[in-house]
């Protein structure tokens, strides 16, 4: 009897979760889909976004992401490779670095926003700009990217490192020819996930890349990201809800496809690893 009730409880809890998800999704779809059109994606916003489209906002979003990736890719991948392949894992410094990265990965995005506002906008005098926003996002993505890349490399079987060393291969060759190609899907999946998180980010961008909804002329110009656009439409623009849902749908579609891609990649990688044994 109790067993029966418990089964019922578990099914009940799960259906509640499904219900909440369904509500959210249906809401976004019902209100968002009517907004969606080629025109919406390719025209400028009119009257603070109540009408018109989101073209400059999409451009700004990608510009901010581009800046962030340009910075975070070399530093993040390089740091991860060093941590996994060259560092002495037992040393105190390395474990402190790891812990700091874990902490940083959990730091609220608004705190990154504070830092970016004070440092990039203020101290470096970049002002509210795509550059400031991108750099702030880079700081936010860095720990996530390092940790996922490192995990991908660490999952490469150690026997190949030993085999490489026994053949007198340099570590550079081994990394470039064997380890990185093998870990590439996992590294890409980690990268995609951090891109997803960065695209969803709002709090870190409000005070760094700014609010302006026109087309940015350069990287030093202010630009509004999609997530910030949704926030602004729903909070500050009366009658902006429809456009907000349209933008939300675009944002979700982008992030979901990135996440699906990441999942497919890491799943195929897992299969590759299993079939190797």
């Amino acid at each position: 009897m109790i067993n029966r009730l418990f089964t019922l409880l578990i099914w009940g809890l799960a259906s509640c979760v499904l219900f909440a998800f369904g509500w959210l999704m249906v809401d976004v779809l019902v209100q968002g889909v009517p907004m969606l059109s080629l025109d919406f994606l390719t025209s400028d916003p009119i009257r603070s976004g109540r009408a018109g489209g989101i073209y400059p906002i999409i451009v700004s979003t990608f510009l901010i992401l581009g800046v962030a990736l340009t910075i975070v890719l070399p530093i993040g991948l390089g740091s991860a490779i060093w941590l996994c392949e060259f560092s002495n894992k037992d040393s105190k410094i390395v474990s402190t670095i790891r812990l700091s990265l874990d902490v940083l990965a959990g730091v609220p995005s608004i705190v990154f926003g504070l830092f970016g506002y004070a440092f990039f906008c203020g101290f470096l005098e970049l002002g509210f700009s795509i550059l400031s926003g991108g750099l702030t996002l880079a700081c936010m993505m860095l720990p996530i990217l390092i940790r996922t890349t490192e995990a991908g490399l660490a999952a490469v079987p150690n026997e190949w490192r030993r085999a490489g060393a026994a053949l007198g291969l340099s570590r550079t060759t081994l990394l470039w020819r064997v380890l990185i190609p093998y870990a590439a899907p996992a590294i890409t999946a980690g990268l995609l996930l951090s891109i997803g998180r960065a695209t969803a980010e709002t709090a870190a961008l409000i005070f760094t890349s700014g609010y302006v909804d026109r087309m940015p002329e350069s990287l030093a110009d202010s630009g509004r990201s999609l997530a910030v656009h949704i926030y602004d439409l729903s909070m500050n623009v009366v009658g902006g809800d429809k456009a907000a849902y349209g933008s939300a749908l675009v944002l979700i579609m982008f992030i979901v496809s990135i996440n699906l891609l990441a999942n497919a990649l890491s799943e195929s990688w897992m299969q590759k690893r299993v079939s190797r044994q």
Partner: protein
């Protein structure tokens, strides 16, 4: 030239002087007072022996007695283990390999190693063999091709894979993978092959094929093989070294020609082990 290893009281010297029938007893590796420790914990100590050129030397003994640790000091793969420390001397081709400024990478091209689990890289068969050659600056297509072909023929894999050199090495069977790994070591034209239980992860038939191949390689290469399979050691080896744990530290108990060591061991532990009473 005959040379008698320094006799130390920690191990019994079997009949070395006569030399096994297939090879002259010229030392290729001379190991003296070798000890290995991991994070200050000694796992192997007081090992002194000579490895003779062109012979097969089998390292036997129960697991955990330091055979593999010993093997990995010979190509300094022990460098890769964090916290590992090797003391004593190893002389190889007249040079002390444990010296700090010794060229480890060239040592490793002269001393190839085969591991327990076949570990071809996740690349094509061809790339697996090309990689170590390219690393040595050999880029010419024809040279690469001929070296790859002869290595594959040497391990008897050529007929099985010549039509599919461009498929992933991981698609081969376990035994084929292991022979590919041996071929990968052979392309560098080493003079020594270290084998760490090369057959123990294979099925009996593949194991037999690999074993036959090792026998064919004897004479041209100095082979040092760790094995748990006493019958295999007896079939293959010219010399045998018996290791045993004493007070949690691996020791060399007895070293000598294979047949006498198995048939009339000098040490009671060896006798007990080879007769199957202990270990």
């Amino acid at each position: 030239m005959k040379q008698t290893p320094k006799i130390s009281n920690t191990y019994t010297l079997g009949s070395v002087e006569q030399g096994a029938e297939c090879c002259e007893p010229i030392p290729h590796f001379s190991i003296r007072d070798l000890a290995v420790s991991y994070n200050q914990k000694t796992v192997l100590s007081n090992v002194s022996l000579d490895v003779y050129k062109g012979c097969i030397t089998a390292l036997i003994g129960p697991s955990g007695c330091g055979k593999s640790s010993f093997l990995s000091t010979l190509n300094r793969l022990s460098d890769m283990v964090p916290g590992a420390k090797v003391t004593g001397t190893i002389e190889f081709e007249g040079q002390s390999t444990l010296a700090n400024n010794y060229d480890v990478e060239s040592l490793r091209t002269k001393v190839g190693m085969i591991f327990q689990n076949p570990n071809p890289f996740p690349l094509t068969i061809r790339k697996n063999l090309e990689l170590p050659l390219r690393e040595r600056g050999i880029k010419k297509k024809s040279v690469l091709e001929s070296k790859i072909t002869s290595a594959l023929k040497e391990v008897g894999l050529w007929d099985e894979v010549k039509d599919r050199l461009n498929v992933s090495a991981l698609s081969l069977s376990g035994g084929q993978q292991q022979r590919l790994c041996i071929a990968r070591a052979l392309v560098l034209e080493p003079s020594v092959l270290l084998m760490d239980e090369p057959c123990s992860a294979l099925d009996p038939i593949s194991s037999g094929v690999v074993e036959d191949m090792i026998r064919r390689l004897a004479g041209r290469y100095t082979i040092i093989i760790v094995t748990h399979n006493l019958a295999q050691a007896r079939r293959l080896a010219n010399y045998a070294a018996f290791f045993w744990m004493k007070e949690r530290v691996g020791k060399l108990i007895e070293f000598g020609q294979c047949q006498p060591l198995f048939e009339s061991p000098q040490h009671s532990l060896t006798a007990a082990y080879v007769s199957g009473e202990r270990g």
